[in-house]
Symmetry: C2
C-alpha cells in the first residue's frame, strides 16, 4: 500500500513520517509505551488485522523503533519493546494526545491522562521553547535553510520568507 | 484508501491520527506553516499527485485544520491557510522534525533549522515537562484512565500498570 517513499526527502518531518507516519504505526508505538509487548496484545488492544500488524511491526523493527526482545518457537509470540530511538518519540505522542484532547474533545471527557509517575499530576502542555527557555507562539518560530540544504531548498525557504513578509501571519 | 476510522476511538492520539495521521497530511500542514497557500504550490513543493492533494486538502478543510481563504473561478486556485486548530499542531511538527534530525540524520547535515524568528537561534529540544516545570524522562511519565474512560479502558490501564511494575522499564 506504500505509494511514495519519503525517506529520501531532506525534510526531517518527511523522513520521520516515512517510518512512523502510517496510520497504525504511531498507535503501535503508543501501545509499546503503555507496556504492550506481545503480538496478541497489540492485536487485541488495537483491533488491528493480524496481517497489517505483522507488516507494521516488521517495519518498525527494520526502522529501529522497536526491538525484538524474546522469540519463541511460534513467530506470533515474539515480544517487542521500544528502542532508545522509539522512546525518544514520547514528546511527539504527548503533543498529539494533548492536541487531540483540546481539539477533538469527547462529551464524556478524556479517556486518558498523561501524568508524572511520581506525583500523579498531569504533565504540562507541550510548547515550543526558545533557547533561553521561554514559550514561543507559532508565529514566533520560522524554518530556515540548514547546513545540508541544497540550492533549490535555499531558494524555496527564501521565497517563503519573502511571501510571509507580505502577508498577515497565519497566527 | 481509508481502511479504518480512528475517529470513534477514545484515545486522543487515535482521534488525532484520524485527521492528520495520513502520509501526506502532516506534510501539507508543514507546507501551510511555511507559508504555502495555493494548490499549485503544494503540488510543486510536495511532488504530490493532484488527485491525492485534492482529497487531502478537502479532508483537512472538513476537519477544521485548514481554512479556505479565497476562491477564484477556477477550483484549483483556492487558497488555504491553517485554522487556529491547525496552528496548534506546531509542537507536534517541531517534535517530529527534531526527532528526525536526531534519529535519521543525513550525511550533508540538516536541510532545515527551526528558529526563533526574532533571534535566529534554534528552538530548544521539545521535552515533556511536569506541572512544576522540570523535564520528565519517558520513564517518568505514565498514562492513567481519565474521567471519560469506560470500564474496559480502566481495566486495561490497570493491567498495564501492574505489568509494568513487574518489568524493567522500557527506558
Amino acid at each position: 500500500m506504500r505509494r511514495t517513499s519519503f525517506s529520501d526527502m531532506s525534510c526531517p518531518i518527511a523522513r520521520s513520517l516515512d517510518l512512523i507516519g502510517e496510520w497504525w504505526s504511531l498507535l503501535i508505538i503508543r501501545e509499546a509505551f503503555w507496556g504492550t509487548r506481545r503480538f496478541g496484545e497489540f492485536e487485541a488492544h488495537l483491533g488491528i488485522a493480524p496481517n497489517v500488524l505483522t507488516q507494521r511491526l516488521a517495519r518498525l523493527v527494520e526502522g529501529g523503533i522497536l526491538e525484538v526482545v524474546s522469540e519463541s518457537q511460534n513467530g506470533r509470540a515474539l515480544e517487542y519493546r521500544l528502542s532508545p530511538k522509539g522512546v525518544e518519540l514520547s514528546p511527539v505522542l504527548v503533543a498529539l494526545a494533548q492536541w487531540g484532547d483540546r481539539n477533538l474533545p469527547r462529551p464524556e471527557g478524556p479517556a486518558t491522562r498523561i501524568v508524572e509517575r511520581a506525583t500523579g499530576q498531569d504533565v504540562a502542555p507541550i510548547t515550543v521553547m526558545s533557547a533561553s527557555g521561554h514559550t514561543l507562539r507559532p508565529k514566533e518560530i520560522a524554518v530556515v535553510a540548514g547546513p545540508g540544504a541544497d540550492p533549490k531548498e535555499r531558494e524555496q525557504f527564501a521565497k517563503a520568507r519573502a511571501k510571509r513578509a507580505q502577508r498577515t501571519p497565519a497566527a
